[in-house]
């Protein structure tokens, strides 16, 4: 079993509705958030958070995630405070995380935070009654990315059930693939793990699949034929710094690059996802393919994050459906 402890965290934070992890969310809760995101996609600009203050505390730099959260807050009428560089905050003077969170809790209705230390968001949620949204804690968890991945899959496939999901590239260190794997456990997926030996899916996640009756197939070949049966092709970046053996890196670095000519046999409904930033693992000629979905995926992050912010503030799906503040 892995990460079952986070179910405990959500129990503890019942009163303040923090989102530290969604790995323990059931189908009902996931569907609820997907329905919320769908509403926000139909009408992303509202005043439903008018008068609210959203703090974005980025103790570690992040471009996409921060912009997405801040856009979500702004488009719902909230005001945003925060910082993007801990060097300019009191953290650099030695202030503890607890003190920073306690201080900001006096000003904000919700705190979105990213931190380089693992478990930082969970700890923050324990020291304040203001809801915390984990925007990434080191290599540990990144629930809003998982939520937007789920929304992208749901939107493009019409369901989360019984899908063939191919994960390609760095499956060892890729936080997003681990989170997605766990969140899909109740939807009867079949995973294909395509990675070089050095970056293959860690044993603990394979064990997790076995314990949860999740089917998976491991392979190292990444060709037109091996991806022909995919519904979702989830690409990740193979980074040089992850390799202990640089000769191995040189050998495999070009083996996990997706090119347009590899899409000839793929299923009509297949979509390519990538958490971005992309470097060279998806050739630019793929961008024009109908299967390319990674930029839309990033846009879906806006709707997913609008849903998460509202959920932690206690705004319900009914509130959103009956919202009269749509612009």
């Amino acid at each position: 079993m892995i990460f079952d402890i986070y179910s405990i965290s959500s129990d503890i934070n019942m009163e303040n509705r923090s989102i530290v992890s969604i790995a323990d969310y059931g189908k009902e809760k996931i569907q609820y958030l997907l329905d919320m995101a769908t509403e926000f996609e139909a009408h992303p600009n509202r005043q439903i958070l008018k008068g609210k203050v959203v703090a974005t505390l980025f103790f570690e730099p992040s471009t996409r995630t921060r912009l997405s959260f801040e856009t979500a807050a702004n488009r719902l009428g909230a005001r945003v405070i925060g910082f993007t560089d801990p060097k300019v905050t009191s953290s650099s003077k030695g202030e503890t995380l607890k003190d920073t969170i306690k201080m900001v809790s006096n000003y904000a209705d919700v705190i979105v935070m990213r931190h380089k230390l693992e478990g930082a968001a969970l700890y923050a949620s324990e020291v304040t009654n203001v809801p915390i949204i984990n925007a990434g804690d080191g290599s540990n968890l990144h629930p809003s990315q998982t939520m937007l991945d789920l929304y992208s899959i749901y939107k493009t496939q019409g369901t989360l059930e019984n899908l063939n999901i191919y994960m390609v590239g760095d499956l060892k260190y890729g936080r997003t693939v681990h989170s997605l794997l766990m969140s899909m456990r109740k939807y009867n997926p079949t995973f294909h793990f395509i990675a070089p030996k050095e970056l293959e899916m860690p044993e603990e996640y394979k064990l997790y699949c076995q314990q949860n009756n999740i089917k998976y197939i491991e392979q190292q070949d990444f060709t037109e034929d091996t991806i022909a049966d995919a519904d979702i092709l989830y690409m990740t970046r193979v980074q040089r710094e992850r390799f202990t053996d640089l000769m191995e890196y040189e050998r495999v670095k070009d083996a996990y690059i997706l090119r347009a000519d590899m899409l000839g046999k793929c299923k009509d409904n297949m979509k390519i996802l990538h958490p971005l930033p992309r470097v060279n693992e998806i050739e630019y000629d793929v961008d024009d393919s109908k299967h390319a979905y990674y930029f839309e995926q990033a846009r879906n992050g806006l709707y997913a994050r609008e849903a998460l912010i509202c959920d932690v503030l206690g705004i319900t799906l009914d509130d959103i459906k009956n919202d009269t503040s749509i612009i």
Partner: protein, 151 residues
């Protein structure tokens, strides 16, 4: 015969605690944990005693010492399944097997250097995953009991 002598040793204690069934290789680790070097009360440290259950075992008898739950949790981490006997007025008032608790609060240090618990003035929390594995509440990393460092 050996068993009788051991019983006599325990029975001779007026007030205090007896820790029995200590693995022989852990005896001095436990003695160090309990800071017995500085203890001014009567202390008996016995090792390589014959045991039906463990073949050989260690035993500590400490006069005037009564363990709190935190100390018992620490003992459980160092060597699970030891037996603790509490004696008052020459009578055994409590005898229990010390088992690893489900939750350990501020007993164990996380081995993950980028865990928040190693970078903030805060308590650690570990959950028992199985008989020889603990899991950090915060970073989720698992550790084997044999590799554990106490906080």
């Amino acid at each position: 015969m050996e068993q009788n002598k051991e019983n006599m040793m325990v029975a001779a204690l007026e007030n205090g605690s007896v820790i029995d069934h200590i693995p022989t290789d852990k005896l001095f680790t436990v003695a160090q944990l309990l800071q017995l070097r500085d203890c001014k009360e009567e202390v008996v440290i016995a090792n390589n005693l014959k045991s039906n259950v463990m073949n050989k075992k260690g035993l500590l008898k400490i006069s005037g010492k009564f363990f709190n739950e935190e100390e018992i949790s620490q003992l459980a981490v160092i060597c699970p399944n030891i037996r603790l006997t509490v004696i008052k007025d020459y009578k055994v008032v409590e005898k229990r097997e010390v088992l690893l608790p489900d939750t350990l609060t501020n007993i164990v240090k996380c081995a993950n250097p980028v865990c928040i618990t190693n970078n903030e003035p805060m308590k650690t929390v570990f959950y028992r995953k199985d008989k020889d594995t603990l899991k950090c509440r915060y970073c989720g990393k698992e550790q084997k009991l044999k590799d554990i460092k106490l906080k």
